[in-house]
């Protein structure tokens, strides 16, 4: 279970190794959204996303024998960079299995952090099976992107920091892919403020969590076409989905156009580079997907790793 103890232990373990990211506000954003919004800037986190929290907590919790064997991760990008960086700093061999259409900037950054990379075919291979086979063959320890309580406890520290800075939030929103960030942040937020309302956000074109939430069981979708390359997971996590069911008031969705417009606003008005996946929660607020009675809103800007070519296209 994702207990408060597990979260507090994660916090002690990772705090010296991560940034305490700032919480910023923008009156311009507030005017457009009609809410008072507090942005937790995980785009300014080490390796450019919240993922370093869970990866550091997991890797620093391995036994010496596991560390000697080395680790493997499968990821479309930010988790890969985080595992590569956290692994290097822990002196551990890191192998990363990446989809062959992963953004170039993310591939390059992962390699720069010293990881070995193996590509697989995103549309025709099951990434989990591919990585499992690889782990078994090379005797590596798997560092999963979300279905692991040590990973979730790491992501939860983002929620603790946000609530410490702004305790009286009415609600928190986080982008949702496998659900690790949302599950962690919502669990931490509720532990601090039991009345806080929690909303995961995903692209309308990658709404596996919304479909699952409505149906009451995990639903798989085909490979989603969304521009939010970090949110292309096809089914909610096994460990995360029950937490989403329990803590989410609703699953919000945003269109591709809403994602792009929000990215532009956050960049040109708020001067923060946030990737497509990273602005989805902000987009839900900007495009008024929240119930009217919430006023003070916490939003995680979850990452900033965007291909410069894509960025140039989006702002041209």
């Amino acid at each position: 279970m994702l207990t408060t103890d597990l979260i507090n232990e994660a916090r002690e373990r990772i705090t010296p190794r991560i940034h305490r990211t700032p919480v910023v506000t923008s009156r311009q954003f507030n005017e457009v959204a009609g809410k008072e919004v507090f942005f937790k800037c995980e785009n300014l986190q080490r390796a450019g996303a919240f993922k370093i929290r869970g990866a550091t907590n997991k890797i620093r919790s391995l036994s010496d024998e596991e560390k000697r064997r080395g680790i493997v991760a499968f990821s479309s990008g930010n988790h890969a960079q985080a595992v590569a960086l956290a692994g290097r700093e822990a002196g551990v061999r890191v192998l990363v299995a990446m989809p062959d259409d992963a953004p170039k900037a993310k591939v390059a950054a992962t390699r720069d952090y010293g990881a070995e990379i193996i590509f697989y075919d995103r549309l025709n291979e099951d990434r989990q099976k591919f990585a499992m086979d690889l782990a078994e063959r090379e005797r590596l320890v798997m560092v999963p992107p979300y279905d692991d309580y040590l990973i979730l406890a790491g992501q939860a520290t983002c929620g603790i920091e946000m609530l410490e800075e702004v305790p009286d939030l009415d609600c928190v929103l986080a982008p949702c892919s496998g659900g690790g960030l949302f599950a962690g942040v919502a669990t931490a937020a509720r532990a601090i403020n039991p009345r806080i309302r929690c909303f995961p956000v995903e692209p309308a074109s990658a709404d596996d969590t919304r479909q699952s939430f409505v149906k009451g069981e995990r639903v798989a979708i085909p490979p989603p076409p969304t521009i939010a390359d970090g949110l292309r997971v096809q089914i909610p996590g096994e460990l995360t989905f029950p937490i989403v069911q329990q803590l989410a008031e609703d699953v919000l969705t945003v269109t591709e156009e809403e994602i792009i417009e929000t990215l532009r606003f956050v960049l040109t008005r708020m001067k923060l580079l946030v990737e497509t996946s990273g602005v989805t929660a902000a987009a839900a607020v900007m495009f008024k997907k929240l119930p009217p009675d919430v006023k003070r809103v916490g939003v995680v800007l979850s990452g900033g790793n965007i291909d410069p070519d894509l960025l140039a296209k989006l702002i041209a």
Copy 2:
């Protein structure tokens, strides 16, 4: 004189009306620069630059009679936006005289803040004389961009905040145009840490302050061609130059290419949008213009207002 009292009064006056901007670090930047660098993010300040500090302090210090008459400012951009916003919030009429080649985004933002705009010809008209005539004709109070101790005291609050967060800096760097930001930050930094070393930074192609510093008197240069549109002032300020002479150890310069490369690095690696003028001090650190014996470096990222078209070109 720019006294500690004046700075402390400014701080009390403006703190409720501005952001306390974060100080961030980047191990990637540190590795490239070979220093430990602390970035004061004034690009995340209200109206996108440090200028709101001085403008708010000046406008909030006006008499009721002056407020009734209204104010005028002349500016290539960030000062204009700051005066427009601070003026609107104080309920004062604001007229802004702008060069006819000011970046479109800055013109639009100034208008959005409710200011009336009058254009002048940057290459053929003396902007100071133009604005003075305008002020006299319309009986407006001039809010100068730097040659005013209330403006300098406002900018100095940026230095106080930075030193509060990181007291043991070896040196501070700030972009230098008229010299208001540098004069304010250096004065505040020295008041807190008398041994701190201070460096203004300007484009090599707009080095009026360096030339003046070397010669020991204010030197005027022709309209400079630099891409750093906020640093195109042709002569150091009357009030600021003596402070630069007294507090600067040296005036550093950076090339256009160094500015652009630093802007790209700060955007893609550190996820912060900083305008060309705003990254000059960071560029001086990245391209090793500092003496080798300084280790802990404070850098002001002074603003983030860049035309989206120019940005798209720079990152393409």
